[in-house]
């Protein structure tokens, strides 16, 4: 029997550099294949190649073949490819907002997609579009038909994208990180929708993600990619239970270790560094008199014991980062008070006194944006030392080198510029910069969200070991409840600017009292890697990865 999609020996070059190397994959009718890989692994380019949408700079090697329902699409010209695309294969991308035309009503965009492929009248296309909207779970499709993209939520936008991809009844749907930009609860809904559509339509699905848990929840078979090569492929259960390739093992182990327990509690007998937040309210004022103000944080109470980690979870827009910014002195509280470092911060006095500079520090989500691209690392690391009138001359250099060593980098990094480093290295520099002034309070705002899984693990391990050594207290913000729970002593759950539940990490995970928290946990459960499978592992199999040193050196090589 021939496969629905058969990629054989696919190689793609971009500007002479090989980005996909001799990749062979097959998808059968109605099957779901998951492709897992970190950024730069070539998974998205593979998807684009199947659609004939590779960037101009890319060229497909002559020995490659992509056979879709028997036709080799690498041999098709543009006109033939256009008829193929959409009719046989549809795609859903990561960020729905940037894929929808902001000036066109969503209904009209779906009608356009339908009429491109089918000779139907406007009224028929309209009816079909509304049926599609209903099929992808948009309530009240007649009304939503006339909505503009910005009037829809992120989840609804992604549903519209899926409806468009389905408009010509493709036999294969490619979903390229379709839930990565969405909140956990919405991700759960979209995954459920994709599963349902696949069952109803008997459609094959190529599901691309960096998250093994998400892929495991939807795919029957999984292909693991790295550096443009297929590392391993097979049934999901087999891969999870007995991964053969060390990289796959490392990927699974990284995720398990990340959500596994860490040494918590006060690293040292810390007495400083406690934070008390009472009745905090942060309002973003409208830019002009007619605009509406936005209450980002309302009546929030929060206590971080000295030397402990408070985890803060919630979806985007829930006010997590606003709290981080208020604690860091970047946002001015409108009401309430923040007591830390023996000082009160309120609306009237929210700026840090000179002698306390550097005692609270912040690490941001995107390390590339947090480092000035025009300055060498040494200059950027000098910033906190200048602020606290720290050591100068050789002593200063020694101090920087010592901290670089603590975050696992050597002194050669002092002369580098940010663009010469990887994302993980840059985040280490950001952590080093935050710790140079020896802070009592460290605010971590989604510090691992923009990093690859294996790099996430390294950064989390690094933070844990530094905290154990230095004993600062930490506010750890994240959207991945499992990761936050693994790092934090206590967790606060935020929803629409308020804290709706607080408790110890174990209590929140095991005995949530709030219905929103429960929904969040259910959504996480759905995409969690089955932990019990780890019992099947032969201890020796993971030996060199489970020991921290082996793991680090393995990942560093990549």
């Amino acid at each position: 029997m021939t496969h629905l999609l058969e990629i054989s020996n696919l190689s793609i070059d971009i500007n002479g550099a090989r980005v996909v190397e001799a990749l062979s994959l097959a998808i059968d009718k109605g099957e779901c294949l998951g492709i897992v890989g970190e950024s730069g692994s070539g998974k998205s380019l593979t998807a684009l190649a199947v659609l004939g949408l590779l960037p101009l700079a890319a060229s497909v090697d002559a020995a490659s073949a992509i056979r879709l329902v028997g036709t080799d699409i690498t041999r098709l010209d543009d006109a033939a490819m256009r008829r193929f695309r959409g009719a046989r294969v549809g795609i859903v991308f990561q960020d729905p907002m940037s894929c929808l035309n902001p000036f066109m009503k969503v209904g009209a965009q779906i009608v356009e997609a339908i009429r491109t492929h089918k000779p139907v009248s406007g009224a028929d296309a309209r009816r079909q579009a509304q049926n599609l909207l209903r099929e992808v779970g948009i309530r009240d499709p007649e009304r939503r038909f006339g909505a503009f993209p910005h009037e829809l939520s992120g989840g609804q936008q992604q549903r519209v994208m899926i409806a468009m991809a389905l408009s010509a009844d493709p036999a294969l749907l490619i979903a390229d990180e379709p839930t990565t930009a969405l909140d956990a609860t919405v991700q759960h809904q979209i995954l459920t929708l994709l599963k349902r559509l696949r069952a109803q339509r008997g459609m094959a699905l190529m599901f691309i993600s960096h998250d093994l848990g998400v892929v495991a929840s939807i795919a029957e078979r999984v292909a693991v990619m790295r550096h443009g090569r297929l590392v391993e492929s097979g049934p999901v259960h087999d891969i999870l239970a007995a991964p053969r390739h060390p990289y796959t093992r490392a990927l699974i182990a990284a995720r398990r270790r990340m959500v596994g327990g860490r040494t918590k509690g006060a690293g040292q007998a810390a007495t400083t560094g406690g934070v008390v937040v009472e009745g905090l309210r942060i309002v973003y004022r409208a830019k002009h008199s007619l605009g509406r103000s936005f209450v980002a944080v309302d009546d929030v109470d929060l206590v971080i014991e000295p030397g402990q980690v408070m985890g803060l979870v919630g979806e985007s827009g829930s006010g997590k980062s606003s709290i981080a910014r208020a604690l860091a002195g970047l946002a001015r509280p409108d009401k309430g008070r923040i007591a830390m470092l023996g000082q009160e911060f309120t609306r009237q006095s929210w700026q840090i006194p000179r002698h306390l500079r550097g005692k609270r520090q912040i690490v941001f989500q995107n390390p590339t944006g947090a480092l000035n691209p025009r300055l060498p690392i040494s200059t950027q690391l000098a910033e906190p030392l200048n602020a606290i009138h720290g050591p100068t001359g050789q002593e200063r250099v020694d101090r920087m080198i010592q901290l670089l060593a603590e975050v696992g980098l050597d002194e050669s990094y002092l002369d580098r510029y940010p663009h010469e480093m990887s994302g993980g290295q840059k985040q280490r520099i950001c952590i080093a910069r935050a710790l140079l002034s020896d802070p009592d309070v460290l605010i971590c705002d989604e510090v691992v969200s923009s990093l690859d899984v294996t790099t996430q693990l390294q950064v989390l391990d690094l933070l844990a070991s530094l905290r154990a050594k230095r004993g600062f207290s930490m506010l750890f913000i994240g959207h991945d409840l499992d990761v936050v729970a693994a790092v934090s002593d206590h967790i606060a759950v935020m929803h629409e600017g308020r804290i709706i539940e607080t408790g110890t990490a174990a209590d929140i995970i095991e005995r949530p009292t709030n219905s929103y928290t429960r929904r969040l946990i259910d959504a996480m459960d759905a995409v969690r890697l089955p932990q019990d499978l780890s019992d099947d592992f032969h201890p020796g199999l993971l030996g060199h990865i489970e020991t921290g040193v082996g793991a680090t050196s393995f990942f560093a090589a990549g």
């Binding site: 500079r357 480092l371 910069r433």
Partner: protein
């Protein structure tokens, strides 16, 4: 290292673009001519000879003479010096005044930037030429006032570019990190904004340079430029325009020189803008995931 990267990708509108190459060649030619030309040309650009009025181009006068018998080529070269001076000087004055006023206002903070940029807005809505004429009328004629007037009329552009970069950089996380440490606006301006603003301002200067030249030529054409005798291209065009039917070479030579030079400079400035476009770099720094609020 750099050359390796250059040979790799096919580059649209790159250095190999023939228009850019020709533009660069012409600009270099004009600069060299302005510098060494006076040493090679036998004729004095100011020397009048009524016997050889409106002579056609020939062996004696390569580009002919004008209505007062002055050598067009000699005047063209002398004018090139002045033209380049106006271009560079005007752009420099616009750069210093615009960026200086804009950034100082932003660094002071509070209501100051609102007031200053309100005034800049007011100046900007007036046609640039009107401002130049107003300034020359109040400062009097001469090279200095013309330079100053032309430069000042383009200063608002630099103020706007400064503010755009300021606003963008102030939202960056590395500025947030510095602010967390208690650093103020002056420190952030000098340490973080300045290195990031330089490229944008230099690009802006390259775009403004040919516009300064055109503005000065228009002013000269209107008879308000530097001293009446000074051989500027604008004045040459103005003088020869009345006799364009009898001595077309006298008006065509400075006209073609002006058009080709400003076109070439604009091409190079545009090329520089594309090369230094911050948005191109920004695309490489987009985070993997949607930023969580």
């Amino acid at each position: 290292m750099l050359s390796v990267q250059k040979t790799g990708a096919p580059r649209m509108g790159g250095v190999r673009n023939p228009v850019v190459v020709l533009s660069a060649g012409f600009v270099i030619f004009i600069v060299v001519a302005a510098l060494v030309g006076p040493l090679l040309i036998a004729h004095d650009p100011l020397h009048q000879n009524l016997m050889t009025r409106n002579a056609a181009p020939g062996a004696d006068f390569w580009l002919g003479t004008d209505n007062l018998g002055r050598d067009v080529l000699a005047r063209l070269i002398a004018g090139a010096q002045f033209t380049l001076l106006v271009g560079l000087g005007g752009a420099l004055i616009a750069f210093v005044a615009g960026a200086g006023i804009g950034l100082s206002a932003l660094a002071i903070g509070g209501p100051v930037p609102h007031v200053v940029f309100g005034v800049v807005d007011l100046v900007r809505v007036l046609p640039g030429l009107l401002i130049v004429l107003l300034l020359i009328a109040s400062l009097g004629p001469g090279t200095g006032p013309v330079l100053f007037a032309v430069g000042l009329s383009f200063a608002p552009q630099f103020a706007y570019v400064s503010r755009a970069v300021w606003v963008r950089e102030m939202q960056s996380d590395y500025v947030a990190s510095a602010r967390t440490l208690g650093y103020g606006r002056i420190y952030i301006l000098s340490r973080h904004i300045a290195p990031n603003i330089a490229g944008a301002l230099v690009t802006q200067a390259a775009i403004i340079l040919p516009r300064c030249i055109v503005t000065e030529s228009v002013v000269s054409f209107l008879g308000l430029g530097a001293s009446p005798d000074a051989p500027t291209w604008g004045r040459m065009i103005s003088d020869a325009a009345r006799l364009a039917e009898r001595a077309p070479h006298a008006v065509l030579a400075p006209l073609i020189a002006l058009v080709v030079l400003t076109f070439s400079l604009s091409m190079l400035g545009d090329r520089l803008r594309v090369r230094l476009d911050p948005l191109r770099r920004a695309s490489a720094t987009t985070p993997l995931r949607k930023t969580m609020i």
